[in-house]
Symmetry: none
Amino acid sequence: MTKVGSNSGSVSGDELKSIVERIERLEEEKQGISDDIKDVYTEAKGRGYDAKVLRRVIAARKMDANERQTQAEVFDLYLAALGML
Amino acid sequence: MTKVGSNSGSVSGDELKSIVERIERLEEEKQGISDDIKDVYTEAKGRGYDAKVLRRVIAARKMDANERQTQAEVFDLYLAALGML
Amino acid sequence: MTKVGSNSGSVSGDELKSIVERIERLEEEKQGISDDIKDVYTEAKGRGYDAKVLRRVIAARKMDANERQTQAEVFDLYLAALGML
Amino acid sequence: MTKVGSNSGSVSGDELKSIVERIERLEEEKQGISDDIKDVYTEAKGRGYDAKVLRRVIAARKMDANERQTQAEVFDLYLAALGML
DNA sequence: CACTGGAAAATGCCGC
DNA sequence: GCGGCATTTTCCAGTG
């Protein structure tokens, strides 16, 4: 049951306000970082890199090496089954 | 575990092909409808309507149809606690 | 300028309604097909296929063969430059 | 054309590495903040708040801050034409 | 033809 | 553990 339900229609404005503001503050920071990331991609693009591929590289690095290998194998297996290899 | 893992590296090409083709067929149809929608927007634009606003009207109506009031009481209560009402 | 702007605040309700309803009708159909696609993925999963990889296979097939090859080469090139190959 | 295409198959590992690492660093920070946000929601939940509603409150405030009234006149006009006001 | 903004897809999370 | 939902990310069309 929620706080709302458990106290008959009254909520501490201060407590709630604090929570909301903390979240909003964090989301601002997060947005700032997202913007920074975007900037780096833009810069990379300016230097001649292909942003799309760059994203795939980052994603690949994030993946555990073994997992990556496994997925690649399954992928090829499916292509082979479809006669595409 | 995936099919791949469970049968030592072999996949029925026919079954997979059937699945893939069904999906591709459906995606084609879907694309066709997307094109139709785009056509309507284009036509509307030709008649002087603002496509951007049109989209917002559609979105608003969808929200209407769905819930619009779901959880609204609790929501208003929170807004009130924040001094926003 | 939009229709709205060009006729001093009046819009033909019938014409607009027709447009909106046509779009909504099409979007319903589209949603239905999306649901169908989801069903096929669910079924495939039930048969042991890895849905994630399946999506990649579909995407690969959609891509022009040459373009795919090019992207793969660039991808490997980047990995090599990073000492990951 | 990408850097790749323009230099016959070779990419400066150092430059690329720098770019990739900057992005990865930023994404780490971003993830950390996401975790912080999640923590706040968890804490709020522990105090009896409904996380789902909280999210809607935050979203509503964001819309407030942004525009809320952008294009609203045209929008209302269309709604009126549709008999929705 | 690059950029912005909006739609679509994919991923991840939370609940049962 | 799985399905549904919300968020995030990716893609694409419209615009200057």
